[in-house]
Every structure is written in structure tokens, then in C-alpha cells.
């Protein structure tokens, strides 16, 4: 039996400390925590940075390093620093080094790097080893070379290699959400279907229980399946909460693709052991070709945004026409004064209070008391975006619906009215790459930090 303690769905999300202490007292074999996902958008991968505060990350990682020392078992984090780029791994390594010094711990740290050089991916593309997944954008070698970061998602083989170094702490770059949880059970010959399924259910911490905010759960893996037990005082797992978790962020509720095969839960059986623990058996692992998923992000222009508030009833009622008239006039002015062609930049007006969330798909129709006009300029360079943002300024402040009315003035909440957002990034890979050796695309570095 292998017991995996999962403190939270993601480092930085907070968790119940009393529940973590219960988990440590239950003598786990490993502590596994996720550090990120693509869910917060392409900017984090594009820049190779974490979305969470360094101070929060350090405070939570401190607790987990103390829990590791007390339990005397490895601590593993996957997709470190939100995106799992090499720079994010190094960011968490630096935090780990500081904490080891501060806590008086001497620890062996294995860093697993998932970053890919554009040249390597371009060569793999030429060799026919890169295949698009359903819904993938068109990608060629030029696009690959334009990425600021490319990562491959590691599976259990690479996490196992990191654990086999004898590391106390494994800081992994991009991994699948499940790999850090499934790795040790699979290495110790637990049922592979049960290992992957339990890992999928557990990857969001207590999300698959009645009290998601409690965070902490433990999963016992064995040769026939797994048993999930929430450690929050009031959290309960039921066959419904556990089986329904396969729906979450997953296109197919029965199938989960992983490096080297897929999980099939169509025949899984969910049994309530009592009112808070659930046993699952009958999940099937179907081996296949060894591929790893690729993610890449690149700069897609620079943005400047501004917010103008319309409160006058007549302008609220005619907000769309007013905003589009301004955008049309400013496009002409921008072409005239910046030298950009109209196809090289965009001015978009989103009406907050009307349809900013859903755009053309919006079906609701009520007249709001006020409208926020979110103007979004996207241009090839930051300087050009800033210029166009400033061209918009006088129109947003004073543009009248008709020529024969006194000049209106609208509400700007800020000075300056425009905010430069810097580079906007986009995800541009949704592909898998075939590997002969799972470690071929990954690198391990082991070091000792701290003193004890």
C-alpha cells in the first residue's frame, strides 16, 4: 500500500493546517502538491513566472517543508511556479534554498526541467514526431521559434527518475496534474488504473469532497484500486463527489490521456466505506505510444487598456453606437499618424454592463444604470499601443452622439486614463511529441541545500 498526502489543489491556494497535521500523523509515503496549470492563461508560461505571491508561496512551502521533515518522506511539487517553465523551477528552488537555511534543514533537492528548446521541437516536427491534438492551432517551425517558452508535460516516469535520486524534495517543471500523485504508487506496483484514477480525483485536493476549501486529502493506493479520505474535519467524500470529479476540466468523462497511454474509468466501481471515505476499483490503464504533450506561448502584440464610465441615460442607451463611432474614427486617425496599416492593430470596445463577458453570444437584454467602456488596443509594439491609447483619450472624454449638442464629458476613474498591459501572449501549441526514452526531453539536476 502507498499512502499519498495531498495538502491542496495548488500551492498558493491555502489549506487547513489542522488537516495537514492529521495527514502527517497518518504516516504518508510521500507528500505531493500541484503548483500550476494553464488555467490562468498564457502570460505565465510566456514570461516563465508564477501567478502567486512569492510571500504566500514561501509561507505555504515552509509548512510543507516542515511537514516533510516531520514525516521523513519525499515532498514533490509538479508544474512549479504556475507554468512549469525552467525559470519558474529555479524561482521555487531559490525559495527552497532560503527556507532550508532559515529552518536549519539540510535537504537534497532534485529539479526536473521540462523546458524545450525551439530548435529541438522544430527538429522533432521535421522528423514527424509532433502531432496536433483536436482543436490545435496550425503550427510550423517558424511559430515554434517565435515561442518565448515551450514545455513538455512530464509523466510518472520522469517523476520516478527524480525520486530515484533519493531526493528529499522534487521540484518539477511542467508535469501532468496527475503524474506527481501516480508516480510512487506505480513505481511500487500498485494497480496502474487505480493509480492514475486516484491521481486525477486527488489532483485538485479536496475539490472532490463536500468541502473543497479544506484542501487536504490522503489517498491509499494498492494492487486493486484506491481509497480516498478527506482530512478536513467536516469534509466528506461520497461515491458521487469522487465519480463526478472525472467531469472536471476534462472533455471526456471516461478517458484521460497521459504519457504512455490512457485511463479508462467507464467500468470503475465507487463504494462508500463509511460516510466520508470512498473506495474505487475497476479503473483500467490502457498502454499506448509514449508521447508527451507540448505547451508553448508567444507574444501576440502589446496592449493598452482604458476604462470610461457612462452614466448619462441617453449615452447608456446608445453606448454601442457611441463606442463604435469612436473606434472607427480613431482607427482612421491611428493609420494616418502612426504609419500602421489597419490590419496591424486592433481597437476593441467592450461594454461592461451590457455584453463584455459574452460578446456576440450574449442573450440577455436589459438597460443597465451605467456602462463601463473597456477600450482595448493591441499593436505590434508597446510604443504603438501607447500612442493609439492616447489617440483614443480625447474621444472617450468628450465625444458627442450628435454634432448639435453641448460637449459632454465622461467619467475617467484614473489618471493617466490609459494602462499599458505590456506584452499579451497566446498559447500556440496543443500537440504531442513522441519519445523513445521518456527522459529524452527532460533534465534532472540534484543539489544539497541548507545545513542541519
Amino acid at each position: 500500500m502507498v499512502r499519498v498526502l495531498i495538502p491542496t489543489g495548488a500551492l498558493g491556494l491555502a489549506y487547513d493546517r489542522a488537516a495537514l497535521a492529521r495527514g502527517v500523523a497518518n504516516r504518508p509515503d510521500i507528500i505531493a502538491v500541484d503548483g500550476g496549470s494553464t488555467d490562468s492563461g498564457p502570460s505565465y508560461l510566456g514570461r516563465g513566472v508564477s501567478k502567486y505571491s512569492r510571500a504566500t508561496t514561501k509561507a505555504e512551502w515552509r509548512d510543507l517543508m516542515l511537514a516533510r521533515a516531520e514525516a521523513g518522506v519525499p515532498l514533490v511539487i509538479g508544474t512549479a511556479g504556475t507554468c512549469g517553465a525552467d525559470s519558474a523551477v529555479d524561482w521555487l528552488f531559490e525559495i527552497t534554498r532560503e527556507l532550508a537555511e532559515e529552518l536549519g534543514q539540510k535537504v537534497k533537492v532534485a529539479r526536473l526541467y521540462s523546458g524545450q528548446s525551439p530548435d529541438t521541437i522544430a527538429a522533432a516536427m521535421r522528423a514527424g514526431r509532433v502531432t496536433p491534438l483536436s482543436g490545435a492551432p496550425l503550427a510550423d517551425e517558424d511559430l515554434v521559434r517565435s515561442c518565448t517558452n515551450i514545455v513538455a508535460l512530464a509523466g510518472v516516469e520522469q517523476i520516478r527518475a527524480a525520486l530515484d535520486t533519493g531526493a528529499d524534495i522534487v521540484i518539477a517543471g511542467r508535469t501532468t496534474d496527475t503524474a506527481i500523485i501516480a508516480a510512487l504508487p506505480i513505481a511500487r506496483n500498485c494497480d496502474a488504473g487505480g493509480a492514475w484514477h486516484g491521481a486525477k480525483v486527488g489532483e485538485c485536493g479536496a475539490l472532490a469532497t463536500t468541502n473543497p476549501a479544506s484542501g487536504v486529502i490522503q489517498i491509499d493506493f494498492d494492487e486493486r484500486g484506491f481509497t480516498l479520505e478527506p482530512l478536513g474535519a467536516t469534509a466528506r467524500a461520497t461515491p458521487y463527489t469522487v465519480s463526478a470529479h472525472m467531469l472536471y476540466e476534462n472533455t471526456d468523462p471516461y478517458i484521460l490521456h497521459e504519457p504512455g497511454g490512457h485511463l479508462d474509468v467507464a467500468a470503475s466501481r465507487y463504494i462508500a466505506l463509511d460516510d466520508r471515505r470512498v473506495r474505487v476499483e475497476g479503473s483500467v490503464w490502457v498502454p499506448g505510444r509514449y508521447t508527451v504533450k507540448l505547451e508553448g506561448a508567444r507574444v501576440a502584440g502589446y496592449q493598452v487598456v482604458s476604462l470610461t464610465l457612462l452614466r448619462d441615460r441617453r449615452y447608456v442607451a446608445n453606448a454601442r453606437a457611441w463606442a463604435e463611432d469612436i473606434a472607427r474614427r480613431c482607427r482612421e486617425v491611428a493609420v494616418d499618424r502612426t504609419g500602421l496599416a489597419e490590419a496591424e492593430f486592433t481597437i476593441e470596445m467592450r461594454l461592461v454592463g451590457q455584453d463584455a463577458t459574452l460578446g456576440p453570444l450574449e442573450t440577455g437584454r436589459t438597460v443597465p444604470v451605467e456602462v463601463g467602456v473597456l477600450a482595448i488596443v493591441t499593436a505590434p509594439t508597446e510604443a504603438q499601443a501607447v500612442e493609439i491609447g492616447k489617440i483614443l483619450n480625447p474621444y472617450l472624454l468628450h465625444h458627442a452622439l450628435t454634432e448639435d449638442e453641448p460637449m459632454p464629458t465622461f467619467a475617467f476613474p484614473f489618471s493617466p486614463a490609459e494602462m499599458a498591459r505590456g506584452a499579451g501572449y497566446e498559447f500556440c501549441l496543443h500537440h504531442v511529441m513522441a519519445l523513445d526514452d521518456p527522459m529524452a526531453a527532460f533534465r534532472l539536476q540534484v543539489s544539497e541545500v541548507g545545513h542541519g
Binding site: T38, D39, S40, G41, P42, S43, L133, S134, G135, A136, P137, Y240, S243, A244, L247, Y248, E249, N250, T251, D252, P253, Y254, A300, G301, Q303, T346, E348, R350, A356, T357, L358, G359, P360, L361, T363, G364, I376, T378, G424, Y425, E426, F427, H430
Partner: protein, 100 residues
Amino acid sequence: MAELGAIVQKVRSKNAGPFWLTVDVFCGSREVFARVSGALETARVAALYGVAEADVRRFDIADLDVVKFSFPRPTVQGTAADRDMHGAAWAVLLEEMEIG
């Protein structure tokens, strides 16, 4: 006729990676599941989200009383055209849809 959101327990939408969206309708009971599963036409859901019906994957999961739809995101996550980074707001379109 009724708004879907008024008769089911919850409608949830979420990214399934940057390029796909998945929408789960938790019906809450066998009776509501039977009604929703029968009355909710895939073609209407496709039209609501502006995607081709052929691209919509549908799962009617009796064990969970859930009807699930997965389709390519109406806009790719995080592009300049995207309005909802996590894809969670799209659920309201189904929630507010009238069904028989």
C-alpha cells in the same frame, strides 16, 4: 417551458485546456435528468455557443444525472479576442436557456 437553471442543481463551465470548453449540467435527480436529457437538443447548444454541431461531444451520464457537453472554445483562452480566461462564465448561456 422553463429556464434550465431553474430546474437543475447547477450548470458549470470550465476550460478543458486552453483550446476546449466543457459544460456540465448537474440535474440533481433522475426525473430532471430524464427531462433535460430528452429536451436539450445538441443543435441548440451548438448554436448558443456559436460552434458547429459536429464539433460538440455530448455525454448523457445517467449514473451522475449529468449531461455534459465539450467543444472547441468559442475563443482560444487568453487570445486578444477572449473575454473569460477560465471559461466559467459561459455556463450562464445554458442556465438561462428555455427548455421544454
